[in-house]
């Protein structure tokens, strides 16, 4: 990643307020050009976006909810890992059971945040993994 390539944060959650919230949380790094934020309310729209957008190797991260109608976060994770293996996927879910976490890891997730998401944890993880400042 070069200084000129902002990090693309792609987020999927059937709850639109989550998008609104993170858009505000990421307001400063977006304004500073550190990140670009893309929010989708369903997995299908997200996959469509990923298919048509150019790849920026190593500068894309996907944060997804698990429990969503039609296509679940698990299915999205599977498809992304098949088609875009370079994109790291983090799960954000109210499920805090071990089996959901284990299944995510088996399917190739890079991390798992339980809701309510600890934003500081999320921030430091992304900052550490991508060398980008979110503040």
């Amino acid at each position: 990643m070069t200084a000129t390539t902002p990090l693309d944060i792609v987020m999927v959650d059937d709850e639109s307020s989550v998008g609104t919230l993170y858009e505000m949380k990421f307001r400063k790094p977006i304004q500073k050009g550190h990140i670009r934020f893309h929010f989708f309310e369903n997995a299908k729209d997200c996959l469509d976006y990923l298919k048509q957008s150019p790849r920026h190797h190593g500068s894309e991260v996907l944060l997804t909810d698990i429990n969503m109608p039609e296509v679940s976060g698990f299915e999205l994770l599977t498809k992304v890992k098949q088609n875009f293996p370079d994109i790291n996927v983090f799960m954000m879910s109210a499920y805090d059971d071990e089996s959901s976490i284990r299944k995510s890891m088996q399917l190739g997730a890079s991390g798992y945040f339980t809701k309510p998401v600890n934003y500081k944890e999320l921030q430091s993880r992304i900052e550490a993994d991508y060398g980008v400042s979110l503040s």
């Binding site: 709850e15 505000m24 679940s72 499920y95 959901s100 934003y119």
Partner: protein, 432 residues
């Protein structure tokens, strides 16, 4: 054998052969009558000592002057009966008994001249009661009377013990029935709690979503440099999600509340069914099934129904959908690669009834079980997996709400549950 013995044996045989069909109280009654007739005495009495102090006797059979008369209770003090009850064998006053017991008013009133009594006992030797014969003339054949009275006192004792055993058995049966009833109630309540547990799991998950917004939103507000528009927007979101959390808790409390107040309530069945389905999906633990499940949902909107116990009907839906998921999960275990699990949920309205159809293509129910699935304690699940009360409770709850349930199934092919409940129609139609 002397004459008395022969006579006694004949008399005993004669009395003993009382109608063999008689038993218990009727048998004793007949014995008493025959004793009076055969021994030609005016009075025959069978009674029991009143516990705990055995200071008085309650007569159970009192035969006087050729007929049964009302039973009495009398004090034992100063009566020949005291002597009888103190011993174990026959006690006899062959003549002039009143002179020996001058304080016994009953003897006087009945003008009794001779008295013979024998106690009958528990198997452990404890006292049960006594058999007494009395007459206003001295006994004609004392030895004969003694043999007969002794024999029949023992026979009556056996009958008393049998009656007591029967009574105690009856009492234990009643106790057992009460116990079964209590246990059944406990199981029903457990079954309800299990469903509520499932609902709670779904709802708790649902609660974390608004909390996610509230917590992260308020943290955002604590940061510096958030502009006024974002601040307003965040506050608005926090409020909205706070209200949503409240709604979620309210619906949870509705379920936890013991027995609804039974006043009919107009409810949007479409929402109720959709919510139940949502709760089910959110609390689904079989993730493999969840990933492979095809849902065919066709819920007519805004169907209004008048329900007596709304939370119970929501539990009915969750139970039925849960059963479908169990049938699908079991089939998926058998053929994980080829089986395509499918769940159909439909709500329609016709002829003042709403019809809920839940169909799965799971393991199905064998014909021999199908007619019993709604029976109390009927389960085909392995021990520990089902109480056998799920569908029974479902049926009770549906009937309580004036509805009906029909289950069709073919083994290894499908199960279809159709529930019908009284409905008012679609919102637009009922003009609400």
């Amino acid at each position: 054998m002397d004459g008395t013995t022969v006579n006694a044996l004949e008399i005993i045989r004669d009395i003993y052969n009382v109608d063999q069909l008689l038993s218990g109280k009727k048998y004793i009654r007949e014995l008493v009558k025959r004793l009076a007739q055969t021994l030609k005495v005016k009075f025959v009495m069978v009674g029991h000592a009143i516990e705990p102090f055995a200071k008085s006797v309650q007569t159970d059979y009192l035969f006087a002057n050729g007929k049964f008369v009302d039973n009495v209770i009398y004090g034992l003090e100063g009566t020949p009966c005291t002597e009888v009850l103190c011993g174990t064998r026959v006690n006899c006053y062959s003549a002039n008994v009143q002179a020996q017991f001058p304080h016994d008013q009953m003897l006087k009133d009945m003008n009794v001249e001779c008295y013979m009594g024998a106690p009958f006992l528990h198997t452990d030797g404890g006292l049960i009661g006594l058999l007494v014969i009395m007459d206003d003339r001295p006994f004609q054949d004392l030895d004969l009377a003694t043999a007969v009275v002794e024999f029949f006192a023992a026979r009556i004792g056996t009958e008393y013990r049998r009656l007591a055993a029967e009574e105690s058995l009856k009492r234990s049966n009643v106790d057992l029935e009460k116990l079964v009833e209590t246990r059944t109630k406990q199981l029903i309540s457990q079954e309800k709690l299990a469903t509520i547990g499932r609902i709670t799991l779904g709802i708790a998950h649902e609660l974390k979503n608004p909390l996610n917004i509230i917590i992260n939103g308020s943290e955002l507000l604590q940061e510096s440099g958030v502009d006024a528009a974002d601040r307003r927007r965040t506050l608005d979101m926090i409020r909205q999600h706070g209200l949503r959390a409240n709604d979620i808790i309210t619906s949870m409390l509705k379920q936890a509340r013991q027995d609804a107040d039974m006043t009919p309530e107009s409810v949007d069945m479409s929402n109720l069914l959709r919510h139940a389905l949502d709760v089910f999906l959110k609390s689904m633990t079989d993730l493999d099934l969840k990933a492979k499940l095809t849902q065919k949902i066709n819920i007519a909107p805004q169907v209004q129904a008048n329900l007596i116990d709304v939370p119970a009907i929501e539990r009915v839906f969750i139970n039925i959908i849960d059963n479908a998921a169990y049938a699908l999960g079991e089939k998926l275990l058998k053929s994980p690669s080829s089986f395509k699990p499918e769940l159909q949920v439909e709500l329609s309205f016709q002829n003042s009834r709403c019809r809920i159809r839940v169909r799965d293509n799971g393991i199905g129910i064998p014909t021999k079980h199908l007619t019993h699935v709604c029976d109390e304690f009927y389960t085909t699940k392995p021990p520990g997996e089902g109480t056998g009360l799920g569908l029974w409770v479902v049926k009770q709850n549906i009937e309580k709400n004036r509805g009906s349930i029909k289950i069709e199934s073919r083994e290894n092919e499908f199960t279809e549950v159709v529930i019908e409940l009284p409905a008012q129609g679609r919102v637009a139609e009922v003009g609400l």
